[in-house]
Symmetry: D2
Subunit: 350 residues, 4 copies
């Protein structure tokens, strides 16, 4: 017990915070010792999320009340904007704490791109350059050595795991990528919005943020790195009447005479030893049902009827591999724990 | 009462048949006088569809038992394959009856394309060439004069209303069309299939029939007509956890210097006087919630962040404008009735 | 056109207001000429409810801006509390206007019961005593003559149609009534609440307001009238993951040697000539799917395995017969129109 | 590894079989070494349930092909009827194997009651009398010593955990129990039925099997044991549009001057040391969201407005504590393992 890492969660009243609690409460090497949620400070976690009735969790407190020197790591599930200043303060209080940021604040490396998409200068520029982009499969060594990890967005995780190996291998034309993205409603968070009410989002399908979603520059940053050139992608999200799950259908143009089988082969090779990323056999189509509640990702490649084109489909649970699960995977790396510790739950189907 | 058209429905135990009943039972100029469903013959319609408890409908009978000479029109909601021979028999029994076929049997004009996609020679070739493709907005005069109308598939209706005016006006490159299509589960019919069980389809999202869906050649046929050239499109359907509704996100390359605003303008012009097809204002995104249960179609155009590309989104209710509603719209034309008769129900939202 | 009744809707940005618009926009004898929604004043109705894109509706205005003398009737879909004072002002401005109140403000006839359940004295006591309880089937004559009709709550409509004829005929023991009530999420309105978010209410089932729901005294008032004695009932509501629909399972003790068949017989007799209330045949169980989007009610009686007990199940659409539909039915009576005008839509299934 | 118990699953292609796989695959002391599914024999489990893509499982075989002597335990998820003869054969082949039957075949101890509800004589009478009823919390010692455990039905588990302590303590009148039961659609299994199609069960609520559900005699058997007298209960199930989860609202009459607080107190005392059964604090209402995917049960007691009555609400996941989870809990007991091994997953919410 004494060897368990002491963990705090900033913003525990949101869905990503809660999913971090769900997983960390059963993690063999972790112990949750602080939970913050400023608007709910003073409440029991079980009052805010009644499905935790069986857990003995610390009370929610204001983040200013936490003694950060007693913690080994902090997960941050705060909304964009407040995050950067709070994390700066936490790191000042305890410079050796490990920070797993699940917000968008440290994902973009270019300060101008950040300012352009977020509408203001970044307020912790030195940390922005220190932060490691936490797509585990591609940045494993840097993550293991990092103090501050910017965990990727849910959509970027799904898209990049599908396309980065293809861009690296020059199998696709990175100037002609169309990403039709679909997400369950938890992707919009627990905040009160009319379009996420059951009666509005249920039994219906809505495109949203077409051309303006902030996950686009994040995808472009990493495909750009993989391809060695700046890219612009089409990224078109749709809201689906389900709580969890995300599926991205990427339409790509084949490069250099590559075939769809070449693409599948490249992905199989890239993920041969990965515990969480699985490439579907030829003819098998990924579906969100296969990954719900789990840290797994499933990717499939299908030939297009249009010559020299292919379809790459990837799916994950936006709150797990798309957020809290990947953060824990990174934490495991940072602490030298087995990478899969606490993360091997199988999808809940049906 | 005596002036009402006498209507029969073949295959009334399926969802399209039932939606035809729902609408025709309240149509001011129609009277349902025959209902067939061979596996349910002898039952009351209210036993097969209990939501018709308030209607006084004819009993279900085998189609061979119907006296077709007493009917003015027949709607056909049979599965593919059996349809062509039964319709041939019906027309032989009553050569002046109007036939609204909601199946796929007469949609493809080319007998080779038909044989290729359906795996057998067409069994009523002369009727295949007689049949008029029932996309009301584009074939209004032919439909008014027709005896046999092949009502389009649900996906083709959504896609073609969005793209045909653009292809006709040479505003898009028809060799580079990607259609990411999403449908509610009723699109799969009332037959018993594992993947349409609530516990399988609910809370999940699955691509299906990628590269093999039979609506692809139908879309290609009509875009080909509009463009004056043979075309191949990417058509990728996804099953969405909702009962009704369909939304197609079409990714197009602009031609001849056209802008997204030009596309919207062309659509607005094409549908200025159409009662059921509405073009969303700039900035408004169509969603299935807006058309559920109704005969309306909503189309929107959005600029792509990739230069010289645009996104065209169209939505309809697959059982109404995508099937029974459009069939009734065509029937109205064929009988010289007001085209909107019986079809002006507003979407049921929420 | 000139003979159409001019209708205003107070609180048109809520779900009951919107369903009144949906139905009145296609009502043969009605014309919507005013819509109010104070927080959305100045907007087009199609911006607040995009499924009205095909309608040409008046802009939303503040209620104080409406000239009530130009209207024949007003539907009121405001939240509880504000209603009573606004209706008083409207009636002062136009004493001959017909008022269809869909809120709870005028349903309870006893001022003490009102004060007890709503926590304050009623603020328009003279109107409270003038108001007619708008359960159409039981108060038809009074409604036809009324100026102000207090349309019943959705649950009370379902329960009272099931139980009042039985209480009147002394077939059940009114001191032993257990009502297990289930409602779709629209029953909670369009206001932003955490428990009605898709991610919270979906895929789950929650009892709520057990022992404290304000529909209980309304049910007790009317069963009390029917039985000629004060009654207390068990009324236990549950939130169901569907948008529309309500089903009440009432557990009753048989009185005076009555049998379940006697109960069914009494209901059949009571509703023999009613257009919207249908008693299911023996062995048929009502379900919400049968009435979704419609003004119909379905009631069934089943024998209990416990001796001398029976189960009475009733279902309706909470926004139609449970609110806007019944209000229109009452309006039809008040204007001497056919009672079913504009209300004969069949349930949307699936 | 060598010390892991070798487990077979009969009927692995159903939902309860699959949930047993989901949990056993991550159980620290278990190893799945045989899977049977006669209609799918020869297939990989990942073809039948694609969410197992990450597991290395034995192929599905016919049950006759399994060498039962190599196994330590077998879980049986077969449909009723075939189970009794197959289990008899398995036990004949390996008399020391532990059998966890998740079917209904061995739950009723009285052979006449069995014959009455199942329509035929039991075909393994000696096993019927050997079988131990597997409601863990009440039969722990017998289960630990048993060879054949008849795991309770999902509804009985929810109801009995709520009511047995109250019946034992004579706090309720067992002759006046009304149980309004609600279940998600997985309760109906993976077999193809029209009423469990997404388009039929979605967005709707249906009572079913009212007065005829076979879980009624099981509930009566155990409440009868607790109360020391034969009882008849009202048990009225409803199908809810969600995949997993069950909630039973039991309406009870208080006995001997008991209060709702006395009931809650009795339950708290009964479950003070139970790892999986939690009694909600006064004022907290159980909801299925709190237990989805988990082995936990939540029970709450609420005062009725009717004097001397109370409402007891209990909820669980029908596939976990209502089936595969409870079977594993029993297996743990039978093997002397920690009772919670492999079962501590927290509910998946949202």
């Amino acid at each position: 017990m004494s060897s368990k890492k002491k963990i705090g969660i900033l913003g525990a009243s949101g869905y990503t915070g809660a999913d971090a609690v769900r997983l960390l409460a059963r993690h063999p090497n972790a112990e949750i010792t602080a939970l913050t949620a400023n608007t709910h400070a003073g409440k029991a976690m079980g009052d805010v999320f009644p499905h935790f009735f069986m857990l003995d969790l610390p009370k929610l407190v204001e983040w200013e009340k936490v003694d950060w020197t007693t913690l080994d790591a902090v997960f941050c599930g705060l909304p964009h904007g407040t995050t950067q200043e709070i994390i700066a303060a936490v790191l000042k209080a305890n410079p050796t704490i490990k920070v797993l940021d699940m917000s968008a604040d440290f994902r973009l490396r270019d300060k101008n791109t950040y300012a352009q998409w977020y509408g203001h200068e970044h307020r912790a520029l030195e940390l922005q350059s220190e932060a490691v982009y936490g797509l585990t499969e591609f940045y494993r060594e840097k993550i293991a050595a990092a103090r501050l990890v910017a965990c990727p967005g849910c959509y970027p995780t799904a898209v990049l795991l599908a396309l980065v190996p293809l861009a690296r291998a020059k199998l696709i034309d990175v100037d002609d990528i169309v990403i039709d993205a679909k997400s369950g409603v938890t992707g919009a968070g627990r905040g009160l919005k009319q379009n996420t009410l059951f009666s509005e989002a249920g039994e219906g399908l809505s495109p949203y943020s077409v051309g303006t979603h902030r996950h686009a520059p994040e995808i472009e940053q990493e495909i750009g790195v993989a391809a060695g050139t700046a890219v612009t992608v089409n990224f078109t999200p749709h809201l689906i009447p389900m709580a969890r799950g995300e599926l991205c259908t990427s339409y790509v143009k084949l490069a250099g005479g590559a075939t769809p089988d070449d693409l599948r082969g490249a992905l199989e090779k890239a993920y041969a030893n990965e515990p969480f990323v699985h490439v579907a056999k030829k003819g098998v189509l990924p579906q969100t049902q296969n990954v719900r509640g789990s840290n797994y990702v499933q990717i499939g490649v299908i030939a297009d009827r249009i010559k020299n084109r292919a379809i790459v489909i990837s799916t994950l649970d936006n709150l797990v591999k798309g957020s809290a699960g990947q953060a824990i995977q990174n934490m495991n790396l940072m602490f030298g724990l087995p990478e899969t510790a606490g993360l091997e739950q199988i999808a809940l189907f049906p």
